[in-house]
């Protein structure tokens, strides 16, 4: 059985270039999914501050990132001396894709859901 990918969600709280309705819907879907995930306020802010936490977020194993343009996201990690691995990282663009597309990509593996919606709503 393959280990599920880690999920990293960027809320774009300061740069505010991700459409609000998209990021809030993705966050809601993640929150209700029952999966574990890391959420950061703003990858740009962390990169500008060279926050050491980016190295831990880059980490090991497969990773799905819901944020911005892939080239920009990789650049942000490189600037913080925490380059993402070439393989095993899937970057989803909340600026161009819909919340539905992002959530589906985050919460499915090979077309199967990684977690079911919890009952405690």
């Amino acid at each position: 059985m393959t280990k599920p990918a880690r999920i990293l969600y960027c809320h774009c709280a300061f740069a505010q270039v991700v459409p609000t309705e998209v990021k809030q819907e993705v966050l809601r879907r993640l929150s209700e999914s029952g999966v574990a995930f890391d959420a950061v306020a703003d990858l740009c802010e962390m990169s500008a501050r060279r926050d050491p936490g980016l190295k831990q977020l880059a980490g090991e194993g497969t990773l799905k990132i819901a944020a911005c343009f892939p080239r920009a996201v990789r650049g942000l990690f490189i600037a913080a001396d925490a380059a993402l691995p070439e393989q095993g990282v899937e970057i989803l663009n909340m600026r161009t894709d819909s919340a539905e597309q992002i959530a589906e990509a985050l919460l499915t593996v090979n077309g199967k859901p990684v977690a079911f919606a919890e009952e405690s709503k």
């Binding site: 880690r6 995930f37 936490g53 831990q56 600037a79």
Partner: protein
């Protein structure tokens, strides 16, 4: 020039696994939104999937714990301090106050103070190749703003432009990185 690494902000883990009752979906979403809007990173820990490891600094673990937890704990090497707080019956705003209070106690960096850089175009070297328009992913350049850099536009740029992306590749780069000062907003 890169700035020196800064002290990380307080990392937060929302623990909803063994020994801690899960929050309702509505409360969890509201709490996450509140903390993220204030600049805090949150790891949602649930059974069956990994999150990023934390090896150093201060980690605040929030949860609706079944039993009493020690308020503080420390990793074997002393590099990581772990703080446990129960959030049962607390509103999102009350949890935020708890987080900010602990952040002050731990002397961790306050998040959200980021506006340090904006790009400046050197018109003596700019060849009007327009490469900056297509290169920049944050939509900060436009033909009008290249010729009419108003104060309001520059102020907008510094909100939207990460420092590292202000540079184009190659030695002929006409875009410089300048630390923000009000007297440069013209």
């Amino acid at each position: 020039m890169k700035p020196n690494p800064v002290a990380p902000v307080l990392r937060i883990a929302l623990y909803e696994s063994a020994g801690s009752a899960p929050l309702s979906a509505v409360n969890r979403t509201e709490l996450l939104k509140t903390l993220l809007e204030k600049g805090y990173a949150v790891s949602c820990i649930r059974p069956g999937a990994p999150v990023a490891s934390v090896f150093a600094g201060n980690l605040l673990v929030l949860g609706q714990f079944d039993s009493d937890k020690p308020l503080e704990a420390e990793s074997a090497d002393g590099a990581l301090s772990v703080h446990f707080r129960t959030i049962a019956d607390l509103s999102s705003q009350q949890v935020l106050e708890l987080v900010e209070s602990l952040s002050r106690e731990c002397n961790t960096a306050a998040p959200g103070g980021w506006k340090p850089w904006f790009p400046v175009i050197d018109y003596n070297r700019c060849t009007n190749c327009m490469q900056c328009l297509s290169f920049c992913l944050f939509d900060v350049y436009g033909v009008k703003c290249r010729r009419q850099n108003s104060r309001s536009k520059i102020a907008q740029l510094q909100d939207r432009m990460p420092r590292l992306l202000a540079r184009l590749p190659g030695s002929g780069d006409p875009v410089s990185q300048v630390q923000s000062r009000p007297d440069q907003w013209r």
